[in-house]
Amino acid sequence: MTEPHGDAAARQQPTGQAGLLPTADGPAIRGALGALLRSARWLAAGAFLLMLVATGLGLLIPPLLGYLVDLVAEQRAADTIVLPVLLILGIAIGQGITTAVGLTRLARLGEGMLAELRERFVRRALHLPLERVEQAGSGDLTARVTNDVSMIADAVRNALPELARSGLTIVLTLIGMIVLDWRFAAVALVVAPIHVLTVRWYQRHAVPLYAAQRVATGAQQHQLLDTVGGAHTVRTFRLGTAHVDKVRTRSTRAMELMLRGVRLVTGFYNRLNFAELLGLSTVLITGFVLVQNGSATIGTATAAALYFHNLFNPINAALRLVDDAQVALASLARLVGVTELPPQPENTRTGQQLDPTIKVANVRHEYVPGQPVLRDIDLEVAAGQRVALVGASGAGKTTLAKLIAGIHAPSRGSITLGEVDLTERGPHAISDLVGLISQEVHVFAGPLADDLRLAKPKAADEELLAAVDQVGARDWVQALPDGLATVVGEGGHRLTVTQAQQLALARLILADPRIAILDEATADAGSAGARVLESAAANALAGRTALVVAHRLTQAAACDRIVVLDAGAIVETGTHDELVAADGRYARLWRAWSAPRPT
């Protein structure tokens, strides 16, 4: 016995916030499953038929053994038992083969449906507007694509075949009992209400308990990641005892809930034991009565009791799987909730012919009504011009960059790229006109070349190397164990922050958008790395209209124009020299940064 879905769910964020992605309801799930099944109906029918035959054959062995015992009892010649023995052999072989083929078909059916579902999910998820993903928290999407998919995969791999076999065994055994003598089958059904009540009782207690277990194991996992991942910091600030106590509290809590789950499961089986006893006694008493009034033979009574005994295991297995099926269903609801979202209109307009200019007119933006993040922004960037945004954290630089990239629609005012108003392009589409490198660096797991080819699928190796060369990364790329073929990212060769950002710039070169937006791409690289990245960015932006959210002032100084933002408004704008000469806010910053710098 294992605890129900403990660690698999552990990484699931206990999110209580609004804005989570939708969860499908019963009809929607049935609809989606029905559609998947219809497209594989022949496979499904074949699998069902084979499993039916396999189970049926298996049920023939006990009566054959009974027949053999009868032959012996009648003291027939020794060779008469050869026939039933050969029949048993033949049945066993038939059962083995049909089971193997049937289970294979069943796996193809289940796994095929799962693959289709996860592909639809990824397609829909990647097309979701970023704004929507941010509302939900990216943890929601990741949890669905990992935990929920693996929950369903577990169910398909383990629960589905067992459920099919147990279910068919139960049905066929009951049919066998009806054929034997319908009265035995009728009394056997007397215990069915106990099973129904037991499952209901179990679910009533199990659903909240398992939810609590998921929260507790999730909390334990978080605490361990916190403590173990931050071990260096824990030591630095002598927090060891406090952290060990925190882990103990959460681990103990998780353990207690798990043990409560064990008590629940033993209670569940004990109730089923009671049903077994009651059912078996009823069948035996019925046999006693029927044999006494002469309406059944001793053989029939014996067979009925043994048939009923044979039901114990499949009934236990099937009822236990009700629980797994419920968990899988909850996961399915979360997947279907996303796959059934209305599709985003695809952006069919190509941006390559458009004039790469940016016009921001009278833009105001508020995330929370009444709290403007940007106020009355007017900004024009001519084709090929490079503009830096400078300002303190919270001044609105990133928000402005996101509005221009089309991630959010401004609360008021208009943003025009080329001659086209962003709102007309569809509110959330980042067109192929605009490339955005955000604060987030991500190296895709797999060969480095594959990562780069995301930006340009058909690029030859030479083209990739050229891009890598332009961002000053050729040396380290060629020094990697397998060059461009080196597996990088999660589980592969670890790149430094600087290298990862060079990679982002190389992707930008390959994607070749006419407008590029860089948001603090150098922030985490440290000073030395920042300088490498500045020249890489300069190369990557060559020939493009560019908006750079500048963290280091040298980066701003290299731009054609600098826009200084403060509290959501543009307070200064001009070239580096103009702004230094004007002796305003930018000039003060520049002095603080480089006082004795000879220029």
Partner: protein
């Protein structure tokens, strides 16, 4: 304190043995109940036979009542023995896992360090959860295995007493059947393992693409990514179906083998019965027992697998518990008042080479290193994260390697550039090391680090609970809160490594001023290349490559040393 390994001890066996020993009472209880359960399960079909013989055949109501009562008693025993066997075994399993988790946690955060070396934190967490669970699960597998063995012994004895040839056939045939099934399954198992890995790969790719969503959107690569995922998913589907087919044929083969064995028993038993060497009842019992034996033998196969997993997990746990500490233990006391005079003599740790420098008490020193590895090595020696290969660091004349690391860290705090925050309120993060801190001191630290601005943007201000490892904050926000924590403790010596890399220029200038004010009269070392921070230092040590090249004020170095200027200003 970490459990130091005895020389030559086998960590895996030690971990496993202590995990079982720690729960021996529960393991024994569970074993006894599982044996009783096994017995009760086996006697149900026997009782059915008896009731048919004694009651249904004879028509005796009193016999029926008597035997049904006995049946009820057996079921009661069956239910209770399962209940208590499972509860004791599961408790032993969870408690053992919990204890291992706590030992691992204590070892990882131990003041002497060394347990994380060469391991990703995700892998360590995995050891503390899944491996601990698997070792714990041995405490449940053992009772099941012993009960299975008891069942086999009892069934074997009964069979041998019926008939020696029949008994031998069943006793030798059933294990042979399982060995055959195991051999048949072996290559399949290996193949399905490899193929399941590919299936897991598909899920990894999906998660990876989702976490890189912004990057994909930023370069318009969504459609490419979708197509790539589809290819991966189809690949994985093919692999999974191959694995499932292998498993299905394995199941089918076992069914066939079982059928062969039952047919053999029927044939031999039938002949014996016809020759009147055994009774018909004996034949029925033999067939029944052969089917019963498959149960305990299958339990054996499962238990065997769990023991193998448990051993592998115990090895991984043992390696972490026995990891070599990163630094020596020291016992010398430190005086209660620390002036804060820091001195490095002939310090070596790759790539540092014979570094000498001294920081007078109350001084603010900048250290500019051209090689990031040199800076890291220096910080590791100061923070006692690594032992220097030669030379020494002393604080107020006391060699720091003679002091217990945690005692030293009260007086000398080395705040890492990427220090972690924890899943608690912003305020608790800042005051974690110094809970008795006055509100004014906390406010001052938050002001100096710019942490007050971070708090203002949060829904519940400084009382907002941060996500695990502070991930609900941006890099710049995290850095400011971490700096506030370092400043809040007001340690006699504070070493800050690049504390402002992720904050903007405006904020950085404000933070530099804040650090200067708050640390007046206290020894502060700033390991950085930021000119804004270097401007508040009294002197700067310039480490070019592996050794100290110059020491002077920031402005003089800027004017006089071209290499320094290019390191700092680019």
């Amino acid at each position: 304190m970490p459990q130091q390994p005895k020389p030559g001890s086998r960590p895996a066996r030690g971990v496993l043995a202590s995990s079982i020993r720690g729960q021996s009472a529960l393991v024994t209880t569970s074993t006894v109940f599982y044996i009783l359960h096994q017995g009760a399960e086996a006697s149900v079909p026997l009782l059915i036979g008896v009731i048919i013989d004694e009651a249904v055949t004879t028509g005796s109501v009193s016999a029926l009542a008597r035997w049904l009562l006995i049946l009820a008693a057996v079921f009661l025993g069956l239910a209770l023995s399962f209940r208590y066997g499972a509860r004791a075994g599961e408790r032993a399993s969870y408690q053992a896992a919990h204890r291992l988790r706590m030992r691992l946690t204590s070892r990882v955060v131990d003041q002497h360090g060394g347990a994380e070396a060469g391991r990703l934190s995700g892998a360590l967490v995995n050891i503390a959860t899944n491996d601990a669970k698997r070792v714990g699960a041995v405490n449940l597998a053992l009772p099941l295995g012993v009960a299975g063995l008891a069942g086999i012994l009892v069934a074997g004895t009964v069979l041998l007493r019926i008939s020696t040839p029949l008994g031998l056939l069943v006793l030798l045939g059933t294990p042979l059947l399982l060995v055959l099934a195991h051999l048949l399954g072996k290559p399949l198992e290996r193949r399905s393992g490899a193929e399941q890995e590919r299936a897991a790969h598909a899920s990894g790719v999906a998660a990876d693409l989702v976490s890189g969503l912004r990057v994909l959107k930023g370069i318009g690569a969504v459609s490419t990514a979708v197509a790539r995922y589809r290819a991966t998913s189809r690949n994985s589907l093919a692999a999974t179906v191959r694995a499932a087919r292998a498993e299905a044929w394995h199941d089918g083969a076992i069914l066939i083998l079982t059928g062969v064995l039952i047919a053999l028993i029927a044939l031999v038993g039938g002949q014996l019965a016809i020759n009147a060497e055994i009774t018909i009842g004996n034949l029925v019992t033999a067939v029944g027992l052969a089917q019963f034996l498959l149960g305990p033998l299958q339990i054996f196969a499962v238990v065997n697998g769990q023991l193998a997993q448990g051993r592998a997990s115990a090895k991984r746990i043992g390696e972490v518990l026995a990891a070599t500490p990163a630094v020596h233990a020291g016992e010398e006391p430190l005086p209660s008042t620390i002036r804060g005079e820091l001195r490095l003599r002939g310090l070596r740790l790759d790539p540092l080479h014979d570094v000498d420098l001294s920081v007078p008490a109350g001084h603010t020193l900048g250290i500019v290193a051209t090689d990031a590895r040199a800076a890291t090595a220096l910080l590791d020696c100061l923070g006692r994260a690594a032992e220097p290969t030669a030379g020494s660091v002393s604080l107020d004349g006391i060699d720091v390697s003679t002091v217990a690391p945690s005692r030293l860290r009260e007086a000398l705090v080395v705040a890492a550039h990427d220090a972690d925050l924890f899943e608690e309120s912003l305020l608790d993060n800042v005051t974690a090391a110094t809970p008795e801190l006055s509100e004014d001191a906390v406010a001052a630290a938050l002001r100096a680090s710019g942490g007050d601005e971070v708090a203002e943007t949060l829904p519940a201000g400084a009382h907002t609970v941060l996500a695990e490892r502070g991930r609900s904050l941006s890099g710049g926000q995290r850095q400011r809160v971490a700096l506030a924590r370092a400043l809040a403790g007001d340690p006699p010596v504070l070493v800050l490594h690049e504390p402002t890399t992720a904050v903007d220029a405006v904020t950085e200038a404000r933070i530099a001023e804040g650090i200067r004010e708050l640390r007046t009269g206290r020894t502060t070392v700033l390991v950085t290349t930021s000119p804004t921070l270097l401007k508040i230092t009294d002197t700067v040590v310039f480490v070019a490559g592996a050794a100290v090249q110059a020491e002077d004020t920031h402005s003089r170095l800027l004017r006089a040393d071209d290499q320094y200027r290019s390191a700092v200003l680019g």
